[in-house]
Amino acid sequence: MRKVVALALVALVSATAAVAQSNQFMDTLLASKQLDFGQASYLVLVASDNIGEDADAPRAFELLGSMGWAPEDATLETPVTLAQFSFMLMKAFGLRGGLMYRLFPGPRYAYRELRSVAVIQGRSDPGMAVDGSAAVRMLGRVFDVKGVSE
């Protein structure tokens, strides 16, 4: 059910920016030019059923840290890089990854894996910031890769 809600959000965002959003989080997220760990962890963990929709960003970030999916020095407001966001997606959705990712799971090979399966498209580098709409588009493509019916 949560995936359906997340997908609906993705579809809503993709369809038109003019559609009014009552969800404050999504409004803030989409306006964000640089996602922070709080926003990223909430978006990814809710969409992947790792946390309830009624949780908030601090709770999501706390869970992310306890799972070891965030750098030790990261805070709620630390901007997330594309490689770090890729690692969150890989872990949260249980994507298998390539040989090197299995040997050395981390942001570097997570970024490579998501590039190879076209979740990351266009000009990119592992250190670049992730804006809200790009994060939602990536999330939608992860659902495509993973298979919505799972």
């Binding site: 890089t81 298998r96 990854g97 390539g98 040989l99 090197m100 990712y101 299995r102 090979y109 970024y111 490579r112 894996e113 190879s116 399966v117 000009r123 580098d125 592992p126 250190g127 670049m128």
Partner: protein, 389 residues
């Protein structure tokens, strides 16, 4: 050498200017092992490690640099040859892309360095070269311009065999670099002037700068069509007129076409039929001599010159990490009016396995049966493996 120093200087400048976290780098390892039998056996081995670096320079431009180490060896009943190491620059370019800078639906792309160059068919040029490429598009029209120098490439990478001087250089084991030649190219493409079909025109020129022998300059004019019909059928057709001066004027031709049907729902079934032709020295025409020599067939030891190839391919994807293909090709001379115009037939199998995104194995093998009496069958089996670290 100057180009290498320039490339290194560009790279060093970018390293200092770019944010450290934005780097991406890796090592690609390639192994190619081939066993062939044609009256006697031979085995060849190539191992290549390519170290690459990618880094953004600005929001709209980035630098990609790569260098390679290569080991090659070949063994046969008569002994072996080995080149224990080769170091060279791979693709190394500073490239940029801006969209909308010249109005709505416009884009502008540029690249400078050791860049890949290719014409539409890939039969005139398909190699790296040191130079520049600019490409602009507006709406459904795009144009590009390229200029490059080939003389700093390895002769094995450039594959230039246009005149007798090139053949001498090719055979000389002490010569590493390709012939000294300047390349210029331009291309125009109209996307769907008619529904389901693109129309384009490529033109390339080569200027012989070598000090040896008489210079041979050549030009290539290549109109083409690239079409789609329905969801599963794509086709393309192209024609190449080559003109040259050595210093006498000469001309040659080549042409080709391909149709491909795809049924994704039937295990990814693809059926491809293709026909290629490159002129022989006959009548008013000379043998087709492209900027970079390309092979036809997977087993037959033939290049795209003085040849006609009729080919049928069938490929399926039994799983999302495996492709299996079968090819049957009939070869003929470039002059099909000649006595005994058909020269041989080839059957080949190709299995590609990519169980993970950064490692793949390709097993291919086949048989070439020449129609010429007395020539033996040629068997070839190749194992190619790639690992991206």
């Amino acid at each position: 050498m100057k180009a290498r120093i320039l490339a290194l200087a560009l790279l060093a400048g970018a390293l200092l200017a770019a944010p450290v976290a934005a780097f991406d780098f890796g090592l690609d390892v390639l192994n190619v092992s081939s066993f062939s039998y044609e009256s006697e056996w031979s085995f060849s081995q190539t191992d290549r490690a390519t170290l690459w670096l990618s880094l953004p320079v600005s929001p709209s431009s980035s630098i990609y640099a790569s260098g390679l180490y290569e080991f090659t060896a070949s063994f046969g009943p008569g002994g072996y040859t080995m080149v224990p190491w080769r170091l060279d620059l791979g693709r190394t370019e500073w490239e940029g892309l801006s969209t909308g800078a010249f109005g709505p639906a416009t884009s502008f792309r540029w690249s400078v360095g050791r860049i890949p160059l290719q014409d539409f068919s890939g039969r005139v040029v398909s190699s790296l070269a040191d130079g520049f490429l600019v490409e602009g598009s507006k709406g459904n029209f795009s144009a590009r311009l390229a200029g490059a120098y080939a003389g700093l490439l390895s002769k094995n990478d450039a594959r230039i065999l246009i005149d007798a001087d090139d053949a001498v250089r090719w055979a000389d084991q002490d010569q590493y670099f390709a012939p000294s030649r300047a390349l210029a190219g331009m291309g125009l493409r109209f996307v769907e002037p008619v529904e389901g079909m693109d129309l384009g025109f490529d033109a390339w020129a080569q200027f012989d700068l070598g000090p040896d022998g008489l210079p041979t300059h050549t030009q290539y004019f290549e109109p083409y069509l690239d079409g789609r019909l329905g969801r599963g059928f794509r086709w393309r057709a192209w024609y190449i007129l080559e003109t040259g001066q050595d210093p006498d004027f000469f001309s040659s031709m080549a042409a080709g076409g391909r149709g491909r049907w795809s049924w994704p729902e039937l295990g990814g079934l693809r059926l491809t039929g293709s026909l290629f032709w490159a002129s022989a020295s006959s009548g008013e025409l000379r043998q087709f001599s492209p900027l970079s020599t390309s092979l036809v067939g997977g087993v037959a030891p033939m290049t795209f010159a003085d040849v006609t190839v009729l080919s049928a391919d069938m490929a399926v994807s039994p799983s999302d990490w495996m492709d299996l293909g079968f090819n049957l090709s009939v070869f003929g001379r470039g002059d099909l009016g000649a006595t005994d115009p058909f020269t041989g037939i080839e059957a080949a199998l190709d299995l590609v396995m990519a169980p993970v995104s950064d490692f793949n194995v390709n097993l291919s093998g086949g048989l070439y049966a020449p129609f010429v009496a007395g020539l033996p069958l040629r068997w070839l089996g190749t194992l190619t493996a790639t690992l991206e670290l």
